[in-house]
């Protein structure tokens, strides 16, 4: 409450849907859906996102299953896991972090991230996610014990398999422009890339 400069998803919160922000977004809990920000999206080490991220910069210390498009930089920290494609002009992967997917580092003409925080679209519960909200948090396996130690809920493979399979079977070239994405109309100034 004291800090209203950023959005923070608490460790015991689940968001199923989309987050659009013109400020930093920090995730300790879980988000199933698309996150767009004209600033930085941080998946903290206790955070997990199943969906796409578009932002100026992205820091992954937790788990992301989905693609990233960053116009400035992506940092994957020691505890970070990305299962998906990454498009960014600058990328740092710290020893211990894991990435499985296409990496496209191309600083030519990055499209600024556009977000609409004014509202007006209708919430469609099934639009982004097939699974229900009670799906338990997927944790990393024993191969990455340091990270899974911070997780509270055990993996339920049966419950998550449908979504995982979707992620696998629809690999998208991260470079693919997303300018046709919905929810884009109210832009508060373009985001400049450092490149």
């Amino acid at each position: 409450m004291a800090d209203n400069k950023r959005t923070e998803i608490g460790p015991d919160t689940l968001v199923v849907g989309n987050i659009d922000a013109q400020e930093d977004v920090s995730i300790h809990g879980r988000v199933d859906g698309t996150i767009r920000s004209t600033a930085t999206v941080i998946i903290e080490d206790d955070g997990e996102v199943d969906g796409e991220i578009e932002a100026l910069s992205v820091v992954v210390a937790g788990v992301l299953i989905g693609n990233i498009r960053a116009t400035s930089k992506v940092d994957v920290e020691e505890t970070g896991v990305v299962q998906g494609d990454i498009a960014t002009p600058v990328m740092v992967l710290v020893d211990g972090g894991a990435v499985a997917g296409m990496l496209v580092m191309d600083d030519s003409n990055p499209q600024p991230v556009k977000v609409n925080t004014a509202g007006g679209t209708t919430y469609r519960p099934q639009a982004t996610r097939q699974t229900g909200s009670t799906r338990p948090t997927a944790s990393r396996t024993a191969a990455r014990p340091s990270a899974s130690a911070t997780r509270t809920a055990p993996t339920s493979r049966g419950a998550t398999s449908g979504t995982r399979a979707r992620t696998v079977e629809t690999p998208r070239t991260a470079r693919q422009p997303r300018s046709a994405a919905p929810l884009i109309d109210d832009v508060e100034g373009p985001v400049e890339s450092e490149s």
Binding site: V63, I65, V81, V82, Q83, V90, M91, V92, L93, V94, D95, G96, A98, V99, A100, G101, M102, L103, V104, M105, D106, A138, R140, T141, A143, R144, A147, S148, T155, R157, G158, T160, S161, G162, R164, A165, T167, V168
Partner: protein, 115 residues
């Protein structure tokens, strides 16, 4: 790790074909083909490697294109330029390194994807 080199391919050397060995190899020249090392391959700042690499470790300071499968670690150093596919349990990308291609690391979530 890259302090001592058992072998160096100098700036003005071009190797096409297959390289095999068990000591550290520094490439400052050009290598095209296949590299199988039980130790580390270092693509130096002036090095240019277009190869399928099997090694314990791969450090890229110069240019690399191809596939690399390492049993330990791949390091992309600031200023390097790589394309292709990297597979290793550990991959480090320094700020300023450029790579376009596929990273195949064990993320732990793979197994829970079902099917």
């Amino acid at each position: 790790m890259s302090d001592e080199f058992g072998a160096v391919i100098g700036r003005n050397i071009v190797v096409r074909g297959e390289i095999e060995g068990s000591e550290v190899l520094l490439v400052e020249g050009r290598v095209e083909g296949t590299v199988n090392l039980e130790s580390e391959l270092v693509v130096g700042v002036s090095g240019h490697v277009e190869a399928d690499v099997n090694a314990q470790a791969l450090t890229i300071e110069g240019e690399f294109s191809g596939t690399a499968a390492c049993s330990d670690i791949v390091t992309l150093v600031n200023g390097c330029h790589g394309t292709g596919e990297l597979k290793a349990p550990r991959v480090v990308i320094e700020e300023g390194a450029v790579f376009t291609g596929r990273l195949n690391m064990e993320t732990g979530v793979r197994e829970s994807r079902g099917e």
